[in-house]
């Protein structure tokens, strides 16, 4: 369901943990070491975002705005959805190609560096350097 939680962010940094109950659609994409078996690409233009074997699957409850918004919608009031599974990297230079939005609240959303579709992920400016790419918003293909 569409909802909005960009304007009512809590003071606490969202936590993340290893995703244990891996959904069926992700089982074949994850290696024994917990890393991605396939490259992570933009689902629209196939631009390479992360190489294979660079990111770990984690669970993190996160609000992501939808890529398309109503015209003249304020960013803080953007509609979106809460998603749970992410590919996690800890060094921003692990990314092959990625764009960072301006900060809203405490977060920076990630986008495709080529077609600029997004958000495909998020990072929190308060926390340690953790970067999260939504498994739902990218393509897994080499």
């Amino acid at each position: 369901m569409a909802q909005n939680s960009l304007s009512n962010t809590s003071d606490k940094l969202p936590s993340h943990e290893v995703l244990k109950d891996v959904p069926d659609n992700l089982k074949e994409l994850i290696a024994d070491n917990g890393k991605n078996l396939k490259s992570i690409r933009c689902s629209t233009c196939k631009s390479l975002i992360l190489n294979k074997d660079t990111a770990s699957l984690v669970k993190r409850e996160t609000f992501l705005p939808y890529p398309q918004q109503k015209k003249n919608q304020k960013a803080e009031e953007a509609e979106g959805e809460t998603v749970n599974s992410f590919w996690h990297v800890q060094d921003m230079y692990t990314f092959e190609n990625v764009g960072f939005c301006k900060t809203i609240g405490t977060v920076k959303f990630l986008m495709c560096a080529d077609c600029e579709i997004g958000p495909v992920g998020v990072c929190d400016t308060r926390g340690p350097r953790d970067f999260f790419v939504s498994t739902d918003r990218i393509a897994h293909e080499n």
Binding site: K71, A75, E96, R129
Partner: protein, 204 residues
Amino acid sequence: MSRSYDYLFKLLLIGDSGVGKTCVLFRFSEDAFNATFISTIGIDFKIRTIEIDAKKIKLQIWDTAGQERFRTITTAYYRGAMGIMLVYDITNERSFQNINNWIKNIAEHASADVEKMILGNKCDMEDKRKVSKERGENLAVENGIKFMETSAKQSHNVEEAFFTLARDIKAKMDKKLQQEKTPDVVQPGKDHKHKKSKWFCNIL
């Protein structure tokens, strides 16, 4: 964890308002009926990976805030920048004149060995041209830096410009590393290639 790249360069785009800096770095989004979330918030920077001489180079490329003028851009802004694209608009004489002011500003505030390049943007607008290509070339020669005309609108020369700037930074860095290797030179304490990402602290 081992590093998956050989070089990391921070690049900035600088120039008068309206010359097309944002368009050089980002795509045109001209859909009048739909708004994307990304275009509403705006983009801060991009990371791009390129390959030169079989070396993997990460580029971190920053746009600059629109209303900034050379008078207000100071040292904090240039921190860590290894390459600067100086952009003017070939249909705007004043933006060309101001390149000299931007160069002065860089000399005052940026690291002395920052690599520069001049871009004459909007070269698709030949009918409105005010600044000849030759004047652009001459200005670049006077300052001992490279020059290209670009069109962000037609993606003409944009990728080439970033490659050229990156190649020049790499050449400069390789030369420096070569000098550091000679035994009678004291090793500097800082190793640029292993610098931790600290962009959260120097957000503009």
